[in-house]
């Protein structure tokens, strides 16, 4: 136990005393949020002089989507024409609108003429936010007509009244950022494990009487706690400075963040134990970080077409789904499955890391 605690403290100090680490993991996100957050806030705020985006909507104005689009918070960004399918298609073809939105039994599709500018992004984000928060309400409205109806027992129409809290740009941005930062904290695990288990320090530790579980457990606890605290810095900062709404199910949000920290640690620890080269691992990890973040659609909605079905399982996307769901209401079944999946993937990666380590260090 002494050895475990000693290792934990050592690792904790080791990570926090590294100025680069502190810069990257604490200052960097705060700076990014300050810069980008302010940029976003300038574009999308009630005082902006951004002209409302003209869109055509082929849906019932009194339906869920229709009502959602006409809430005060949203409608001020939009210049909506409700019409039928043909009408919307025509307007899109004529490019009199920047997007045509079709709703067919809860399936929403968007036709975008031309390339998307800020307006298009805005519309996509609004529709995305509808998908996130509207799902519970939609399910309720469509029961019996949709596959989700089969999950009726699990689906929990949450008490998040539509309209009292519409996710704002920053709400999305903060979640995306936080998840990305947490993915990045995998570097802590990489640093600590490669230092403590590989290299000459690894030999020194192996010659000492510390047990393997105490050593590995201590290192893991140190990198996990450090990473989690780094995530909390962003969590608290965005809440305090931008008033980001983290919802009423904070424990679930925090649990998800924890699962994600474990995932990022396990990924990097596995890579470094398998490849034993910090440079290569950090290159691979960076590519993975940015890819996973990019395909997971944070604030800026990007349409990947058919690949969207696959990309929803990207680690970041799963975390987004759970957290957005926890904040604004979502498919509980899916959230639970994703949360278990994050823990499960981490466990598998840790086992693989352990096997690689044992084979290499034997």
């Amino acid at each position: 136990m002494t050895a475990f605690i000693a290792t934990f403290w050592m690792g904790f100090k080791f990570l926090w005393r590294n100025p680069v680490n502190i810069a990257i993991l604490v200052c960097f996100p705060i700076i990014i949020i300050l810069i980008l957050g302010n940029a976003l806030a300038a574009y999308i705020s009630p005082d902006t002089d951004l002209a409302p985006a003209p869109i055509a909507v082929a849906s019932d104005p009194d339906g869920t989507l229709g009502m959602f689009l006409q809430t005060e918070d949203i409608s001020r960004f939009l210049d909506i024409t409700f019409t039928n399918r043909e009408g919307a298609e025509q307007m899109a073809a004529d490019e009199t609108v920047i997007a045509a939105i079709f709703e067919d039994r809860g399936d929403i599709s968007i036709v975008r003429p031309g390339v998307g500018g800020l307006h298009t992004q805005l519309v996509l984000s609004i529709i995305d936010s509808y998908k996130q928060i509207g799902s519970a309400a939609t399910i309720a409205a469509m029961s019996g007509k949709d596959i989700y109806a089969l999950l009726d027992m699990e689906v929990n129409v949450r008490d998040v009244p539509l309209g009292t809290r519409i996710p704002e740009a920053m709400d999305y941005y903060a979640v995306t950022m936080l998840v990305m930062i947490l993915l990045y904290t995998g570097m802590n695990g990489m640093d600590l494990f490669s230092k403590g288990l590989l290299s000459d320090m690894g030999n020194r530790n192996r010659l000492s009487p510390i047990s393997k579980p105490a050593l590995i457990g201590g290192l893991l606890a140190a990198s996990t706690v450090t990473s989690y605290l780094q995530g909390m810095a962003t969590f608290i900062f965005t809440g305090a400075v931008y008033g980001v709404y983290w919802g009423e199910r904070i424990p679930l949000v925090l649990l998800t963040l924890f699962a994600f920290v474990l995932f990022s640690q396990s990924l990097c620890v596995f890579l470094v134990m398998a490849l034993r080269n910090q440079g290569v691992v950090s290159a691979i990890a960076q590519v993975f970080f940015w890819t996973s973040t990019f395909v997971s659609n944070g604030y800026m909605k990007i349409d990947f077409g058919a690949m969207d079905k696959v990309f929803q399982y990207a680690p970041n996307a799963m975390a987004h789904t759970i957290i957005f769901g926890a904040i604004f209401g979502g498919n509980e079944m899916k959230m639970t499955v994703f949360l278990i999946a994050l823990f499960g993937i981490s466990a598998v990666l840790f086992v693989l890391a352990f096997l690689c380590g044992r084979r290499r260090l034997a």
Binding site: F14, R204, N205
Partner: protein, 313 residues
Amino acid sequence: MIASMTNIVKRYRAHTALDHLDLAIREGETLGLLGPNGAGKTTAIRVLTGLTGVDAGEVRLFDSDTPVTASAVKRRIGLVPQDLALYETLSARDNLSYFGRLYGVTGAALKARVGEVLDVLGLSDVAGKSPKKYSGGMKRRLNIGCAIIHKPELLILDEPTVGIDPQSRNHILDFVEEMNRQGTTVLYTSHYMEEVERVCSRVLIMDTGRVIAEGSVEELTRTSLFEETVTLEVRDPAPALAEGIGKVQGVLRCEVEGRLLTVTSTAGSQNLARILENASPYTILGASAKRPTLEDAFLALTGKKLRDGSENE
């Protein structure tokens, strides 16, 4: 026998790093392990401490069958690795405390012991600084400190003085001598003859994975393989002088070059007085005797120069 390695064979793929190596460390001695780059010194230490397995042979520590991987055995050994193994962002004190705790030293005992080690290594003044800010010699000393915090009975130092100035090196050598005086058995690996000659009571010379010579420092340098030279500087030496000296017992040859006479004898001839006697009619401007060093011994035994061994390979 505090440690013994018998008939050890260790291969890295096709390369045989240890080739039927026999090595024994006696209780209380300071054993020097000398050899050029790639001789297999570090590999021998890795085998001895259980960091790597062997292809053949047997390792025994502390006269028992308890494997070296048992924590009871680990507690009795301290290894100073050839390459620095420190947590660079932690202070010296934190590094020492960490390793102390791993060995079960805690509380007041740990604090006292850390202070003691810092003191003996001359690091007390910089105890709060991280090794990132240390000079090479200070890092080396801390590297040693981390290995002795738990008072090992067997201390193994793998080239502890590489790349540091004479002062730091002296400090480390003094320290090794002091540890040995206090009863620690030491295995000392080095490229440097002077060091081994100074601190070791017994020496093994290794090359290409095997021990090629063994004995006390005197024994090794006294073997008949070796020669001693006396150089005399004499004003106007006559040819008769060289002739006369050549007849002195033990003298192998006497070469004259201007004022300089180089007299080569078999080692241990103890004929310096007789040589000087022969030269006494002349004005002797200078005289120096050179006894064989381990470097010479190594050269004679292996045909390689010790320090640039790897370049000859």
